[in-house]
């Protein structure tokens, strides 16, 4: 008898295990709904600002509550992809421009009706439309500019960078500002895909050819651009051995007052607000022409969402409401993608950096990252890996570009 009881207990335990694996899906009645929103845009300092926008939305829509999950940017892509594969993705989720095409092509994004497209900055809104339908709404944009420590420039008796600078001016200043014995470096620019496509544009080159499925950077302009990027390492910029390339290395070096110039995004304004030295920004120098990286984040609504109307309402509020504009400008967060230039006026007088006009100036000549429908991440990884090989001196710049071009063609073709 005892054995039968034991067997029954075992089977019951097993059944319990199986049952916890399947949860019932409750049907959706009218009335209050809860939607979920997964984001990376507020990570690292803007969580409360996002909460402010969410609170305003919930106040305006008492029947909708929003459950926010915030993930670090580095893990976000993997988490999103896993959630999409598992069917557990949030109703509303962040995405970035470089990945929009891939997600749209795979049908994971629902159409988001927009009554009044004129409130958005037209060119950015269009980047998230396919065949005349809006599949995501831009939540912010940001550009990459040249940050500089004005105290270090003063100490060296050098003129501050201006928006008319070229690579040669930057190079000359970087050399004079570098004092390796004192641990002070002249310049920092990441060695990566995102920098390369931009310096390529600054040198008049193209990353992809017209077909969009083949690389076009293995040219003399490309070689020169790659040399500009990797040549800083060990002369005016720390090497990989010294920590270059690890997360936050460059921004910490700048905050410590040990870096004279830094290429990074305007999202760093808040983090640098309290540094104990003077600093400002300028439009990034170009070589044959200027080109600034424009990054844009957006929100999409899951095509599998059970609350698509509520989700779309939140997506519109998050990207175009006055509360959002006000919160973003007050906090010095990334810029809202609105067409109303007057509303952005206050941004210019927010304090450091003084030359906020450079942010708008950098928009005059932007370089958007190359986008492919298949193999986007692979393309980025290969490009970065080959550039780092050249940076370490294990390959010549020519070899690295030839190899990158061949490998990327195979991945995106």
């Amino acid at each position: 008898m005892r054995t039968t009881a034991l067997a029954a207990a075992g089977i019951a335990a097993a059944a319990a295990l199986v049952m916890t694996a399947c949860t019932a899906d409750g049907g959706q009645a009218d009335g209050p709904v809860t939607i979920t929103y997964t984001n990376f845009i507020s990570n690292d300092g803007n969580e409360e600002n996002l909460q402010k926008i969410v609170a305003a939305f919930e106040e305006e829509h008492p029947d909708i509550s929003v459950e926010v999950t915030t993930l670090p940017y580095a893990d976000y892509g993997t988490a999103l992809q896993t959630d999409l594969a598992a069917g557990t993705v949030s109703d509303v989720f962040d995405l970035e421009y470089a990945n929009y095409a891939q997600y749209q092509a795979n049908g994971v994004l629902a159409e988001i009706p927009v009554e009044d497209p004129s409130v958005y900055r037209e060119s950015v809104l269009e980047a998230y439309a396919t065949d005349g339908k809006q599949y995501a709404l831009p939540s912010s944009f940001s550009t990459v500019v040249l940050f500089y420590n004005s105290d270090l420039f003063d100490a060296a008796g050098l003129e501050y960078p201006t928006s008319d600078w070229t690579w040669a001016d930057e190079q000359a200043a970087a050399e004079q500002l570098t004092d390796q014995a004192a641990g002070v470096w002249g310049d920092h620019q990441p060695v990566s895909f995102y920098e390369f496509y931009k310096v390529l544009a600054q040198n008049g080159g193209e990353f992809l050819d017209e077909s969009g499925t083949k690389t076009a950077f293995n040219t003399p302009e490309g070689v020169e651009a790659a040399e500009w990027l990797v040549g800083k390492s060990g002369t005016v910029m720390p090497t990989v051995e010294q920590g270059q390339g690890t997360p936050d290395f460059d921004t910490n070096l700048f905050s410590d007052g040990k870096l004279a110039m830094l290429h990074t995004g305007i999202w760093m304004f808040g983090a640098f607000a309290d540094v104990p030295f003077g600093w400002d920004i300028a439009v990034e120098p170009g070589n044959t022409q200027q080109a600034s990286a424009l990054f844009s984040n957006a929100v999409g609504v899951s095509s599998g969402s059970k609350h698509q109307d509520a989700a779309a309402e939140f997506a519109r509020f998050l990207t175009s409401s006055d509360v959002m504009v006000e919160t973003r400008l007050d906090a010095g967060w990334e810029l809202p993608v609105i067409s109303d230039e007057a509303a952005l006026e206050s941004y210019l007088t927010l304090g450091d950096p003084a030359n906020r006009q450079a942010v708008f100036d950098s928009l005059d000549q932007v370089a958007l990252p190359p986008v492919v429908a298949k193999g986007q991440q692979e393309m980025q990884d290969i490009m970065t890996e080959e550039l780092v090989e050249a940076q370490a001196g294990r390959k010549t710049v020519e070899e690295a570009l030839a190899s990158a071009s061949e490998r990327i063609d195979a991945a995106i073709g």
Binding site: T3, A13, A14, A85, N106, V240, Q377
Partner: protein, 316 residues
């Protein structure tokens, strides 16, 4: 002399022990079967849900072009064909084999040395056993970060100490030639405790009378080790090698945390490629095919070992 020592002084077990079948009547047999089932279920159910189920699913996915996002299409054996012609596949298997070739001897001999040392009447040996086992239960992320700092080429402890002796330390994880040795070193260090525990248990099962008899007959330390300890330790050695090889083929955490597969792909291993293909590149079909290729390789290696054990493993 060795002939008289080759068999310990206890009766050999019968060659085949008949498993009890639970009595003769059908009712008694059924009750016995239910008991066995009840004891197996708590581990069989999770095994089926989290190991066998995913394995079958991966076999199916490996025959499709699933990209995690869109519905999958049947592609037959295309993924396998693609992997077999992709030079990257050979690279990641070679890197994995290089890892095993360095790791296995190091962790076994290191573990053996410590086990031999701790099998003596050393003061504080209980504490030392705990100390050596501590890295085994520590998270790989923590261990990898610590080793990354120890082996930091510019200002790590190891290169700083080497510099005191005028040695210009290598670029550990920044030099492609040294990155895999760095990972092997950290891995062997972390797993020493595990090997030590298994081998120590094996050592303690050896009848001291045998060693004493050998000593009386004039066998030195080395002779006792080679002719008595190693043969009698062979079941533990066999277990350590089988487990370490299986774990070695699946090396991932330390690579991911220490080098990320770099520099320049010099330390990319099979499981990392499976991870990248799936979660970075959305090529779940190919990743599943690679998982199955790895499974077949591990299975083959393990079968060969189990077949080969007759020749050298001594179950007394």
């Amino acid at each position: 002399m060795t002939a008289t020592l080759s068999r310990p002084g206890r009766a050999a077990p019968p060659a085949v022990r008949r498993a009890p079948s639970g009595g003769r009547t059908p009712a008694a047999r059924r009750r016995y079967a239910l008991t066995v089932l009840a004891f197996l279920l708590p581990s069989a159910v999770p095994l089926a849900m989290f190991v066998l189920g995913p394995m079958v699913a991966a076999a199916w996915i490996s025959l499709t072009d699933w990209n995690l996002l869109a519905p999958a299409n049947w592609v037959g054996f295309d993924n396998y064909a693609k992997l077999l012609t992709d030079p990257k596949t050979g690279d990641v298997f070679l890197h994995t084999l290089a890892y095993i070739a360095g790791y296995l001897p190091l962790v076994y001999l290191g573990g053996l040395a410590i086990a031999l040392g701790l099998n003596t009447a050393l003061r504080g040996r209980t504490l030392l056993r705990g100390v050596y086992f501590l890295p085994v239960v520590t998270s790989w992320i923590v261990v990898a970060l610590v080793w990354r700092w120890l082996l930091n080429p510019a200002n790590g402890v190891v290169n700083t100490v080497l510099a005191w002796f005028g040695i210009d330390g290598p670029g550990w994880w920044t030099d492609p030639a040294w990155a895999m040795p760095s990972i092997i070193l950290a891995s062997a260090w972390k797993d020493l405790g595990f090997v030590m525990v298994i081998l120590l248990a094996g050592l303690q099962a050896i009848d001291p009378a045998l060693l004493e008899a050998a000593r009386v007959d004039g066998a030195g330390w080395w002779r006792r080790l080679v002719s008595i300890i190693m043969p009698l330790l062979s079941p533990a050695t066999f277990f350590v090698i089988v487990i370490s090889l299986i774990n070695g083929f699946q090396v991932f955490d330390q690579v991911y945390a220490m080098t990320g597969g770099g520099p320049g792909g010099a330390t990319q291993v099979v499981v990392q490629q499976i991870y990248d293909l799936t979660f970075r590149y959305g090529r779940a079909g190919e990743a599943s095919a690679l998982s199955w290729m790895l499974f077949v390789v591990i299975l083959a290696v393990t079968v060969v070992q189990i077949r080969g054990q007759r020749k050298w493993v001594n179950y007394g």
